[in-house]
Symmetry: C2
């Protein structure tokens, strides 16, 4: 089982994407799950430093040498834990406690620290959906931790987990944690409903598998009733909640957080020991998260009375429009091409999945970028096996609706050529305007 699933350390999707974007600078990109540039511009340097100053004033008042405090080394656990806990309570309904929290250099460091701490032995295994965010698999592999895929296609993840646990038992290995993005998954956009979430909690509690809930996209819901994060549904002490300000504020801040439950499977001391272990690991990974970055996040949270709901409204509304533009264009130009092409309608987040009736991997990505002027992500980049080789991740967050329509048209031309249907491809939009 190990040899089958364990991929050796491999090139990161992020770096490969950068190389492609450099090589084809004029291509339209539907590949990157970054926030829209225009929502970042509200955080120009002046505003950043106003925010830092606001936090400084709040934390230290007019105290002498207040300024230097932010510039010094700081606590490995972080200095804005109260404010982050408040934001998680207000915006995510997660009962986060500053004493069980750890501020990290983005969510990526949070994942890396948790995987290393939860899977210290060579027979420990991390479960992860297949496909899943490549950074989680990469972090596990970088820490020498084996990753076993759990199918992301089934509606019953709990059952898939049961099967993986049984298989692992046969070979004497143990699943210690499950990495999961329950809300608006990267890369699939899939949103688990409450009963699915509860089923996973039950299964993981039974097998003492910690759920690493990555909720990077949870605040970006475009339709339907809010579903609580698994950390809010958890009563057994099974969920570690991972959060980030990269999507709500700005990626550059590199501020995220790990929130531990009140107990770990009912054991309060074990939970505190894990927190201490994580803080130690944090100190050996990056000493502490930049206090300037923390002060910027803290200052914005103070200004917004603790919640980011108002702050993200313009982005939320734009991403919803982008999603709708993408869904409409897929309907308009791909539906007529073939009945074998399908896609999902994600109720939130940054991504959707397109399924095509042919292989779409690295070769096809390059072909698309080079000959058709559009960059999209093969789902195989997020996969631990070959089950995703006919799927594409389409991102609608970092662009605008004109570009989305033009990009989908270009992609349709490529697909038509692959299906030998060249006459059916739509004409290029007469004008493709660049983002405002």
């Amino acid at each position: 089982m190990n040899s089958k699933y364990y991929k050796p350390f491999q090139p990161s999707v992020i770096n490969f994407l950068n190389e492609i974007a450099d090589k084809y600078p004029s291509a339209i990109s539907l590949a990157s799950g970054r926030p829209g540039d225009k929502f970042l511009e509200q955080l120009n340097p002046e505003r950043l430093f106003q925010a830092a100053t606001r936090f400084q004033q709040h934390a230290y008042g007019e105290a002498r040498a207040a300024g230097s405090r932010l510039l010094q080394y700081g606590r490995s656990a972080g200095m804005i834990r109260e404010l982050i806990a408040q934001q998680l309570r207000l915006d995510e309904k997660v009962a986060s406690d500053p004493e069980r929290m750890l501020v990290t250099t983005g969510c990526q460091e949070a994942i890396s620290l948790c995987v290393a701490a939860l899977c210290p032995n060579s027979d420990d295994v991390l479960l992860a959906c297949n496909p899943t965010y490549g950074g989680a698999v990469g972090a596990a592999h970088a820490n020498g931790v084996c990753v076993i895929p759990v199918s992301n296609d089934t509606s019953d993840l709990g059952e898939s987990i049961e099967r993986s646990v049984a298989e692992l038992k046969k070979i004497g290995r143990k699943a210690r944690a499950l990495y999961l993005i329950p809300s608006f998954d990267n890369p699939t956009g899939r949103d688990l409903n409450e009963s699915q979430r509860n089923a996973i909690l039950t299964t993981c509690t039974r097998h003492r598998i910690v759920v690493l809930e990555d909720n990077a996209y949870g605040m970006f819901r475009y339709e339907g009733r809010a579903i609580q994060p698994m950390a809010a549904l958890d009563t057994a002490g099974v969920v570690i909640y991972l959060s980030t300000f990269s999507k709500t504020l700005a990626p550059t801040l590199r501020v995220g957080a790990i929130s531990l439950p009140e107990t770990l499977f009912g054991d309060r001391r074990r939970c505190h020991a894990l927190w201490k272990n994580l803080v130690e690991r944090k100190s050996y990974s990056s000493i502490n998260t930049s206090q300037i970055s923390q002060a910027i996040v803290g200052g914005i949270l103070l200004q917004e009375n603790g919640s980011l709901e108002r702050w993200i409204q313009p982005a939320l509304s734009c991403y919803r429009d982008n999603r709708d533009a993408m869904l409409n264009q897929l309907e308009t130009v791909l539906r007529p091409l073939s009945g074998d092409i399908s896609w999902n309608r994600p109720p939130g987040g940054f991504f959707l999945v397109l399924e095509v009736p042919f292989r779409f991997c690295q070769e096809e990505l390059i072909n698309c970028a080079n000959d058709y002027g559009v960059i999209v992500m093969p789902m195989s980049y997020f996969s631990l096996d070959d089950s995703q080789d006919q799927r594409i991740r389409l991102a609608f967050s970092g662009t605008n609706s004109n570009q989305i329509r033009a990009g989908i048209n270009l992609l349709a031309r490529f697909i038509a050529s692959r299906l030998d249907l060249n006459g059916s491809a739509p004409p290029l939009l007469a004008e493709v305007s660049s983002p405002p």
Copy 2:
């Protein structure tokens, strides 16, 4: 050998130090190797903002959406590599090349990434001086890498390395890297001369051991002729150079760098493969170093025409005075106490070593803080064995000469009590002023 030397994952010195400082807030601290607060204050939020803006202007001019670039995700290898390479060439005489460089979240991440990349197998070993910076040992242990100590006391480190290599060979293990602070070592203040550096290079080249040269303190020389970093002396491709802006600019920035040699033991392709491996690991550790932090460093480097020599002058001059104040006070109050007390005169850096004729470990540290009002660091915290149990690290960077004199007096009272010489202790200085 393994069981003898391999200490399990243990509490970090940094976190313990914070706890002690919290518990005894009025105690004078000679424990922390942080930059002096007053030199950080020249980087108030307004100046930080100016620096980031200067870099933005330099990098993007008036380009549309320039602002958002700094706020987005960025390259894992970093965006200010040219400026850092220039600074290393100007200030350290290290022939750094941006194409072989990687910007990291402080030097701590640099150490962690290098140790993990160079020691991927379970029988790979990291050599480290004993005592050494605890963060290096912690990073190795967090990555599951065994650390074997090399005596830091001998003047012939090359010979100590030879002995370690021979012993490791007997048990089928291999030293892959040596972590070393050649200039003004933390915690000892020891400065290796050029022939010592060359001897280590020869030994490490012969055994294909990569030298991880941590040069955090190199620019802080108070006397004597400059000695080139080992990376500048290296002609065989054996030294990976680790640098940081935590001591020269501010710890909060969390910006450091890894500079690889032109070849790795003569092999250019292997060196490039290592660089790519490190960039991958960086992407899985923290995606990229905050571009705001990078822009601040970049803006200051632009303002200073590439060199930080002028920038650090006030700090350099203060630290020199602090060192001299500490040496004078040791001479005045400790010399008369006992002939069995000794200390070194470091030609630079932030630290010196005091040796006492009794055990000084955690119990004594707490005793000192609680009953005498002075906090100092037992050298045992930096040690892989019990050889350092009668030594103390004294830091003179983060305080002022009045506090240093008062702190040494308090320490002298403690030492006198331990030596049963209570009558000989100096009176407390009448006035201990707080830092300006």
